[in-house]
Amino acid sequence: MTENEVLIQVDDLKMHFPIYRGVIRRQVGAVRAVDGVSFKIHRGETLGLVGESGCGKSTTGRTMLQLYQPTAGKVFYEDIELTALKNEPMRHMRKNVQMIFQDPYASLNPRMTIRDIVAEPLVAFGTASGKAIDERVRELMGLVKLDPDFMLRYPHEFSGGQRQRIGIARALANNPSFIVCDEPISALDVSIQAQVINLFEDLQKELDLTYLFIAHDLSMVRHISDRVAVMYLGIIVELADRNEIYKNPIHPYTKALLSAIPVADPDFYETHDRIVLEGDVPSPANPPSGCRFRTRCPIAESYCAESRPEFKEVSPGHFVECFKWDHPDNKRR
């Protein structure tokens, strides 16, 4: 792994989904699912992207791979601007950038055999033909620790964890260097989650992969990520090295989110008080003015409504978007 070589760069990416009303389908507004996020991912690194449902984390991942046409902003892979590519060159780029989906039940075609599912990307790009396809499929199945002899079976014959392995094998077929993992373990049982996470780590080491790991399970994200970005209502509110963000969270939302994680230790609850946020996440179609988090923030001031705070580097590699990051109110835990 070469330090500091940037593989993926995202600049002020926005994805607004229009809302249409009335007989003539006039556009009356937009859901600002992603509203200006910027970050870099280094080669061989895992960037964790966390946030609650509806915060735009999955949309960010999908828009980066041009599965949606972004409203604004740029995405670079090495020095190629993905957002500027036409359909056909982008299609070829997909060999390098792949995705693993959340639901291992919905993301595999039930009428295709495992061989056909895993071979599809090979056929689509003509990377292999004839006997070489079967060989490569066997190799891939071995890589994700599935018995290659099962390759003529159908998805329903496999458990959730095994299906997720099939999805991983498919994503790896054309030797990608960057994979967006969109909540790949959320649908799995606890004992199976650990198996799949270990597999992700092994594959990263073996194949020099770079991951964007999207999840809402903060403890898993801490485990697998090198750096972590926290999203709220379409923006990244805090980004830092994983140990830094868990030990020294600065944004009030990050603090609340971390304190809301259930800890599997009954003694913990005797010594720690929780920060419990009031209310719900506002609608991304009509986000609050100024700071997005101010409606639920325990330390919000009137000026927080006036403008959006700067996404500021408060210590090396630690970015926070908050007016009061340095304020004494925010120091009290």
Partner: protein, 330 residues
């Protein structure tokens, strides 16, 4: 926390499916004391929901069938009650909160009407009384402008708010036992924290006993007094919450707790993973259901199923092997 409220023994539930009979629950027994919170933990398909649904006879029969067991509640066996009798208990003395607040409310009825239903049925309230009590209940669970919101429909509430409504409905007839079936699984962590906080507060105010079903070991640690771990339709370990997390004894519990990433941990160490998969329960297990995945497995485990036995005052384990010493139990 003294007298015994509910005593379940030898509960067995099966389902008839096209592939054969599924032995979902294979002899579950536990007790629940007044004011106590029992956490029931396990992975999908381990029988945790089915056993609790069986107690209230909420299993659709057929295809389900409660084949054995008893559930003594205030001197009566719930499983022997006929439909009218059990209906008096359900929603009255024992009530339930379900996982999915989106589907367990009727989308075409106002919240007020849905809340009035159990009050009029179990408490004999008239409409005005039921309305007043509904407002009180919604205020109790922290819904602002409760009187106005009674006229709203479920889709006008957010997920967390709907779960609060479900809890308010479950509490409406002052139950002695609240069974919560994964009540926070569908919710975001910050909302989950709100709901857990709410239930802990209500438990202190109202003094009811709670059975909290979940797969999340973290949530259980924050709310339960005692925890039962289920696997393959059996309770395989039961202990006070502190004892369980400090000294897990069953290989499955040890594996589950070990497979969680430690949020406080510094370095990145590999997660402990339990290889293999949970069993398909097409046959009633005669050997230990965990034996194919267990690293302590012995010959005896493959031939005989261990029973849940006490190892000290507040700890029971169903395992032939003493995982501390690694030798077989006498």
């Amino acid at each position: 926390m003294t007298s015994e409220l509910l005593n379940v023994q030898g509960l067995e539930t099966q389902f008839k499916t096209p592939e054969g009979i599924v032995h979902a629950v294979n002899g579950v027994g536990f007790t629940l004391k007044e004011g106590e919170t029992l956490g029931v933990v396990g992975e999908s398909g381990c029988g945790k929901s089915v056993s609790m649904l069986s107690i209230l006879k909420l299993i659709p029969q057929p295809p389900g069938k409660i084949v054995a067991g008893q559930a003594m509640f205030r001197g009566q066996d719930l499983l022997q009650m006929d439909n009218d009798e059990i209906r008096q208990v359900r929603g009255g003395q024992i009530s339930m909160v379900f996982q999915d607040p989106m589907t367990s409310l009727n989308p075409v009825m106002t919240i007020g009407k849905q809340m009035a239903e159990p009050l009029m049925l179990h408490m004999g309230f008239n409409k005005v009384q039921a309305r007043d009590r509904s407002v009180e209940l919604l205020e109790l669970v922290g819904i602002p402008r409760a009187a106005d919101r009674l006229k709203d429909y479920p889709h006008q509430y957010s997920g967390g708010m709907r779960q609060r409504v479900m809890i308010a409905m479950a509490l409406s007839c002052s139950p002695q036992i609240l069974i919560a079936d994964e009540p926070t699984t569908a919710l975001d962590v910050t909302i989950q924290a709100q709901i857990v906080e709410l239930v802990i507060r209500l438990r202190e105010e109202l003094g009811m006993a709670i059975i909290w079903i979940t797969h999340d070991l973290g949530v259980v640690a924050s709310i339960a007094h005692r925890v039962a771990v289920m696997y393959g339709g059996f309770i395989i370990e039961e202990a006070s919450v502190k004892e369980l997390y400090a000294n897990p004894r069953h290989p499955y519990t040890i594996g589950l707790i070990g497979s969680l990433p430690q949020i406080q941990a510094q370095g990145r160490k590999r997660l402990y993973s339990i290889e293999g998969m949970p069993p398909m329960l097409y046959q009633k297990p005669r050997s230990c259901p965990f034996s194919p995945r267990c690293r302590w497995v012995t010959e005896r485990c493959r031939n005989e199923n261990p029973l849940l036995e006490s190892i000290n005052d507040n700890h029971k384990v169903a395992c032939w092997v003493d995982t501390v010493t690694g030798s077989e139990r006498a």
